[in-house]
Symmetry: C2
Subunit: 324 residues, 2 copies
């Protein structure tokens, strides 16, 4: 048996961590968005891969919600002293990941480096970038077309979003690990973690060749809603839904996955707080449960609920026609 | 009045610091070797410039002899955790310098960045790279031709040195600050700091166009011997002298600067411990004084001695003929 999870950063990493904990070693592949990757100070930074890796290794910073536990910020302090760029906060320990990744990328793929870091940190499941080739999310806003990290960190998601462009996506091939997980005869379910549908999941499923493979799948695809009570637990998902003319709710998430984004999701998991919305979700099977993950127990329980739900959901007939 | 000092790393930085302290602001230019510069983890590292800058800013690590005071090593610890390269020790605060320099080098010269860092750290004298173009010292050894930092740090100067190659030196132009200091009508003396003659001083004076300018100088050039009691206070200078067939001594340093390296040094400063060697130095004026710098007082006193000595030394007739 194997499970494929698609994830972005913090929220996705939490459910991925739960799945990693409840599944036997080697049965989970987490495919991670790399559209947030960027170059900073000459270093290759992969924020979502790092968040997933740190979280599954149990070395993530729980208070802060991102980065490493027990982090120090002496490099940042010294950067301030010499008038350096400090808008993107790089912890001293976190820097090691970026330095070593950058060094190794001269001769190795992002997949190989990601797998090796995960193994060294004791992770028993697979963490895989969506592609080994560069994809760079650009955000079209009322202040212009800006790189993702400028929107997300420097401008704290304040600009109004009109659209997204994923530079490089047409040229990027899926990583070998992504294809392997999709092709695995043992695959039992695909889980879309509670990540931002536009910024985290859209780039993953849009990597060339992935949609046709998803359309051919014989396993259920389960979405875990990132919206609870009309709000995103973290990040700009709800704000972006409003900017895209959608009312932020689990119903809207279900409609988006059922009709716009994927047209092939089979089930959605929504929070108890949104139980009243379940009846209004027409196109997907619905599981109502606690989706807020405050600790490892929450993560594992939600992971089990999602896996049990997947066993009861049948893959829908696929409306997708490969344009090629 | 102005003074030009040529310096490599730790030893040179100490005297440069003394000169900076006793000279009025703006009257000292320290031209620093960049042959030790290298790329590591995608970052541009300029070890000698950093040592001089940190020392003149009073933020250098006195116990360790290099790097920053109050340094932490959390990035290195995290690098070990992921199996990263740790042979070159990068402190958390020191990393800020490399990160910001690397970022700014995309649009600015090393000279501009070095000057700005120095100003932000409160330094009132000029610190100037010998060139804004890359020069990379390669060490020809019994284990092959290896990059300088591999020889110096990774192999701890253990290999036997047969010769040196300065990649890029023929193409590298002197920095504007170097030329300005040499051309300044106010120039009163050139001080060769107690740095390694082969690794630190040779590349500086070998930058294209510098030797002819030195030959035309009308001011004394004073060498401070890096050898005391037959040993180098720091680094492989004495070991290299032996490997090059020279007996490590201040006499040998004097002969090297008088006949081999520059042929235009006018005076040499040697340590009290080597007072007995003074009579055997024939071609240069000699000052015997304390050259070991344990604290700021030592540095300032030696700097004053060197400057006073320079006033009593006349530039020698120049044997140099410009081959062009």
């Amino acid at each position: 048996m194997s499970i494929l999870a698609l994830a972005g950063g913090v929220g996705g990493a939490k459910l991925a961590d739960g799945l990693a904990a409840v599944l036997p070693p080697g049965e989970l592949t987490v495919v991670v968005n790399t559209g947030d990757d960027f170059e900073h100070f000459g270093l290759h930074i992969s924020p979502d891969i790092d968040t997933v890796t740190y979280t599954l290794a149990g070395i993530n910073n729980l208070e802060q919600g991102w980065g490493l536990a027990g982090e120090t910020w002496n490099c940042m302090g010294a950067l301030e002293r010499i008038g350096g760029e400090t808008w993107f906060r790089l912890g001293d320990r976190d820097l090691a990941t970026h330095l070593e990744r950058t060094r190794r990328l001269k001769t190795e793929t992002l997949s190989a480096i990601t797998a090796d870091f995960a193994a060294r940190l004791g992770i028993k499941q697979r963490i895989v970038p969506m592609s080994d080739e560069p994809v760079r999310t650009m955000v079209d806003t009322n202040v212009g077309l800006i790189p993702f990290q400028d929107y997300f960190v420097r401008l704290a998601c304040a600009p109004e979003v009109k659209g997204l462009t994923f530079n490089g996506l047409l040229q990027a091939r899926p990583s070998a690990g992504f294809l392997e997980a999709l092709h695995a005869p043992s695959l039992e379910a695909i889980v879309i973690c509670p990540s931002n549908p536009f910024l985290s999941i859209l780039p993953i499923i849009s990597v060339t060749g992935i949609l046709p493979l998803l359309a051919k799948r014989r396993v259920p695809m389960i979405v875990v809603s990132p919206i609870v009570g009309g709000k995103a637990l973290k990040g700009p998902a709800a704000k972006m839904m409003l900017e895209f003319g959608m009312q932020p709710s689990s119903v809207a998430v279900a409609e988006y996955y059922a009709h716009n984004l994927l047209q092939m999701a089979d089930g959605i998991v929504i929070d108890n707080e949104d139980a009243g919305e379940a009846e209004r979700i027409k196109d997907l099977d619905v599981l109502v449960t606690g989706t807020i993950m405050r600790n490892r127990d929450d993560k594992s329980r939600l992971a089990r609920d999602v896996l049990d739900f997947a066993k009861r959901v049948a893959p829908r007939p696929i409306p997708y026609t490969d344009p090629l």
